[in-house]
């Protein structure tokens, strides 16, 4: 009787250990699957960094007609556009990071640090100006550089400058052929140039500076101010469309 009880107890203990082992294996497999899924999801996410230029004690340019009620500072316009573009991109499935979400001062190194830590697939630096017409796109003037073990911080963009030029061309195409939901509207004039940009020169991702200027007619008279909400929406829609094309060209759905 006692021996029978002992045998039952021993067999019960063995069964318990077996169940525990099975559970551990099952949980372990679930955990590793979850980690793998997270890694795949992280690899698949398409990160775009939006860098609203200026901020805090650095107001940038004064925009809008002087003395007009619409007169405002560049730092406010770039922040507003960054926030609106973020909403457009999130709705399209992008992972979006902003370098600043309020009126704070950031130096160029801090902006580049945010971009590089995000391992972004694209970075758009937003500027606004009263000079010129349409949209001005600028890519770093650094010459391309082969991958190296140690990359100088101030010229890190040289690793991605060719991709930045491709991104600039994609944005250029979107602006020159843009239209809202089939609506027939004039394309936005675009200039594409290269220059030294201390912030962008330190970014290790495709990066383009986008400067929005007033729309002017052939006589140079302003048709749409930079502060015009409709004009801004037009520009932002074109940017969102261009980034969709950029994502599809990168092989993402």
């Amino acid at each position: 009787m006692r021996n029978g009880w002992r045998r039952r107890t021993a067999s019960g203990a063995r069964a318990g250990v077996g169940i525990a082992l099975l559970a551990a294996v099952f949980l372990g497999q679930s955990a590793s699957a979850a980690v793998q899924a997270d890694a795949e999801a992280a690899a698949k996410r398409f990160v775009v960094v939006l860098d609203a230029a200026h901020g805090g004690s650095d107001p940038g340019a004064t925009l809008g007609a002087v003395g007009d009620e619409a007169e405002t500072l560049e730092k406010n316009v770039t922040l507003s556009m960054s926030q609106r573009l973020r909403a457009l991109l999130v709705a399209r499935g992008f992972t979006v990071i902003e370098t600043r979400e309020s009126d704070v001062a950031l130096d160029e190194d801090a902006r580049a640090t945010v971009v590089n830590q995000a391992q972004a697939q694209a970075c758009i630096v937003l500027h606004a100006s009263e000079a010129g017409s349409g949209v001005h796109l600028f890519v770093s003037s650094l010459p391309p550089m082969q991958p190296q073990a140690m990359v100088p911080w101030k010229t890190a963009q040289a690793l991605r400058v060719e991709s930045s030029l491709k991104l600039g061309n994609t944005l250029n195409s979107a602006f020159t052929s843009t239209g809202r939901d089939g609506e027939s509207i004039e394309p936005i004039p675009v200039t594409l140039g290269r220059t030294t940009l201390p912030g962008i020169d330190s970014m290790i991702c495709p990066a383009v500076a986008v400067e929005i200027a007033p729309l002017r007619d052939k006589e140079g008279k302003v048709v749409s101010e930079v502060t015009d909400a409709d004009y801004q929406a037009h520009v932002l829609n074109a940017l969102a469309a261009a980034l969709l094309v950029w994502r599809s060209e990168a092989g993402e759905p």
Binding site: H127, G132, F138, L142
Partner: protein, 231 residues
Amino acid sequence: MTPRYQKILFVVLFVASVTMTAVLVRLRERAHDRLLAGAMEAGTTAPAVAPLEQVTLMVADDATSTLAPETIALPLPEEPQARARAVLNRLLSQYSGAQSLHPLPTMAEPVESVFLMPVPQANGDARRAVATGDSGRAGAAGGAILSVPKNADRIAIVNLADQFAASHPSGLETETLTVLSICATLHANLPEVTEVRFLVGGQERATLHGHADLTQTYLTAASAAASGAQP
């Protein structure tokens, strides 16, 4: 007890010394102003007898974001630094015209001075090339130097007026075009100028008016290429 005549003498001498001090300070200020005025006019006011010379201005166009050559005749002084200053002031004054394709505010002397110096050799070249990202000249990560500047190469230090920088329109494109236009015009008229650095009011400044980077050394040949300058 001090005699009365001594008190009067003391007061008279004191008043005379104060007056003389004020007069001396004023004379010194006037002499300083005259010197500054002379320096401002030196080189830019060409003598009437100076022959007209062909000058190429690399004129910026905001609409196309390019530089286009424009040849004009201008009386120029002999001294290279004064010539460079005269040409740049002519270029920038052109932008204040009503029909300017790159409008800038009117100003008499936007360029206060131009200094021409030999390009620093070896270490200086590596520093500059790295600063501008010219990895071809600096070598990988500032390693072997593949090209050493020739002895004839000059670096131009362009000292812009404070008021010019303060009144310049703020924007990435407009500021960049102004900088590239200055660099390309210098190179077009003084081919030995291969590099340009900028000061504002005699001091180093991060940007022209919030955008164009003034901390780096610009390569004049690269400036023309970057701005899509027409041949």
